[in-house]
Symmetry: C2
Subunit: 366 residues, 2 copies
């Protein structure tokens, strides 16, 4: 449905809000009215309209600001926006996705100084075909039917294997990008090594953690959400920031249906796993999360701990309220999966609102 | 507003549901219709009606079953219901509240084998005065302005001090019950020692935990929620079960605005509290929760850990669904404040519905 004509009222709402909250754009009321008029004419003629560069940049930042599930929104206004509306075709798209990862991870002596980046590919236009990316995130690990790797990607791994991909069958094989032109076969693109910054896990006190052979990639780049700005849909607009440690240590490596490391770590710690009240799960979980934060910090790779990030989020709310805006938030996503009650975000409620611009996960985005 | 006339439709809804789900009551359709008719007549004449013993017992159990915020609902059908509708006046009420605590804690060789109990005092009747209890829970600790004790009860402590109460100024002084007859001065009732089962905290590995002088009471008895059954309100209906360890170890003793023990424990553990990423809060939290579970278990006092209780809750959902009922639940209350992501209740959504009978916190219940 992203290919439906743009709603002119949504366009107008967006434009008026944008120019109202960005007075430095120097646009007076008459100019806004003229822009709105122009956009309505474009929609009448073409079914949609094109954003100016300013509208695109600020629209993407507003979309981040409106992401109710994101605890990391303090820096919404410094999002780096890559305007790739002119890029199409599987080869050019793949090249730009690789470049996204390099810019996001930092280069040269800035390697590891992660920056929040979004890459915005062509908008949906009624009746026009487009280049589709299959991947949920730009970097993810393969999962094999024998349990090796990340079980969450077992189906995806099977699909790319049928397309000819051959994994090394390690626990951390980087999946290829899969890009597809309408009506054509999907094409695979291996991510070059320099595009993927990874951190092997060690632990400040427990030397044996290194022997577990765990690692994770530095850049979480979500690539399956549709960006919508003023009624215009951008089906391919991957974005990335940096990790909050718990995403890796309390979910990706810990969940029973992901890497399921808690029983392994508890055994190495010599904990009594026959009784829940020994809290062996909780103790293993804390050590795993210490390993994540310690390893990233030692490697000079930006990461946030959940206590600091929670405080930043409350700072964000205070700043936004000062600017006259409320901050919609989804409690169950904002409160971290580790020591929730010990973070300040736990002890309050949040308004829930679906503000636009925003990001949406479409059921049939693939 | 509990004194408003009973809504006859709510009464009928309750009666029909009750007799439908309790076929063993042996009530056929005609008898139900007759009971409904009789209740409607009572409401017409008196503004409200009286429950039969069966309606009271099963109604209270349904209220527990419908408590969206309660993870402990697996045993809803074995709730012990004390029918105290004939008890009024501050002295008789105080006596029964003490008895509630004794029954709940178990007596003689059953001391510590906690049982879920509710004590139901007279229903609200339009225009009739009643005996009011000030306490939020039957057992709580005083808080003093110098920071000693539980800061949550500093206002309450001040109020009872003005009424003549003298605390020992220890960190764990049991507050008195405060009961009030309409139009009269409130009266204080000290809880006798045998009514309050308490557990001093020790730790399986860390001997110094005993030196912190921490303790908690065994029976959590909420006494400020109105029970509503079939349109009838019971303003005083204290209920109690047993603790889930995290309520004590991850909230009461841990919250910065309660006993705030994490910095103290972290210091004793020798953790680096200058950097959040050392996860000192998380480590102290786990040790505190181990101490709680260990101490209760060693003292033979019933307590639940959050992993087991989470599993029980999923069992409860399965049983209820088999009985053709959905289980309304409030995610942010159900997911424990410690290691949320490591409990199975985290990884799903729940229907949210306000089903009756239920318990309500009235703003001006006092
Ligand atoms: C800069 C560092 C960032 C941090 C620390 C951060 C943190 C988080 C966390 C912890 C989540 C929950 C993830 C989960 O539980 O699966 C989340 C979700 C989300 N974030 Fe951020 N984020 C960051 C940057 C960004 C950026 C740059 C954007 C977009 C421009 C963004 C948009 C979102 C969205 C849309 C979600 C919801 C994803 C979903 O529904 O699956 N975040 N973020
Ligand atoms: C038998 C053991 C029980 C356990 C382990 C248990 C567990 C819990 C927990 C952990 C909470 C959340 C408390 C908080 O975060 O402040 C809760 C809330 C609640 N429980 Fe239970 N519960 C039990 C028995 C009962 C009984 C017997 C009743 C009523 C008959 C009940 C009704 C409620 C209600 C109404 C709430 C919400 C309280 C509020 O809104 O402040 N529970 N329970």
């Amino acid at each position: 449905f992203h290919n439906e004509p743009t709603d002119p009222d949504e366009a107008e709402d967006f434009l008026r809000q944008l120019y109202a909250e960005q007075p430095r754009l120097g646009v007076d009321a008459r100019l806004v009215a003229a822009r709105v008029e122009q956009v309505r004419e474009q929609i009448d003629a073409l079914g949609t309209y094109a954003h100016t560069r300013t509208e695109l940049v600020h629209g993407a930042r507003m979309a981040w600001r409106n992401s109710s599930r994101c605890i990391g929104r303090l820096y919404w206004n410094s999002l780096v926006v890559r305007d790739l509306r002119g890029v199409s075709g599987v080869d050019a798209t793949a090249e730009q996705l690789v470049q996204h990862l390099q810019i996001a991870a930092g280069q040269g002596k800035n390697r590891g100084r992660l920056r929040p980046v979004i890459s915005i590919f062509p908008q949906a236009v009624p009746g026009r075909s487009r280049t589709v990316l299959w991947n949920e995130q730009l970097i993810r690990y393969a999962g094999y039917r024998d349990g090796t790797g990340d079980p969450l990607y077992a189906d995806f791994t099977e699909a790319v294997t049928e397309l000819g991909w051959k994994g090394k069958h390690s626990a951390f094989d980087i999946l290829p990008l899969v890009l597809q032109e309408t009506g054509q076969e999907p094409r695979l693109f291996e991510l070059p090594e320099h595009a993927v910054l990874e951190v092997p896990l060690t632990h400040p006190d427990l030397a044996w953690v290194a022997e577990l052979g765990l690692r994770w990639h530095a850049v979480p780049a979500i690539s399956n959400m549709r960006l919508t700005i003023g009624g215009v849909n951008y089906p391919l607009a991957p974005f990335s920031g940096w990790y909050m440690g718990t995403e890796i240590g309390a979910r990706n490596l810990a969940d029973a249906d992901r890497y399921d490391q808690l029983p392994i770590i508890a055994e190495r710690l010599g904990l009594d796993t026959t009784r829940e009240s020994s809290l062996w799960r909780d103790r293993a979980l804390v050590e795993l999360n210490r390993a994540v934060l310690w390893s990233f910090e030692r490697a000079g790779v930006k990461i946030a701990d959940h206590h600091t990030e929670s405080r930043h989020f409350l700072t964000h709310i205070a700043k936004e309220e000062k600017a006259g805006r409320t901050v919609p938030a989804d409690w169950s996503w904002i409160v971290p999966p580790l020591s929730g009650g010990a973070t300040p975000v736990f002890h309050r409620y949040y308004p829930e609102a679906d503000l636009k611009p925003n990001f949406y996960l479409d059921e049939n985005a693939k």
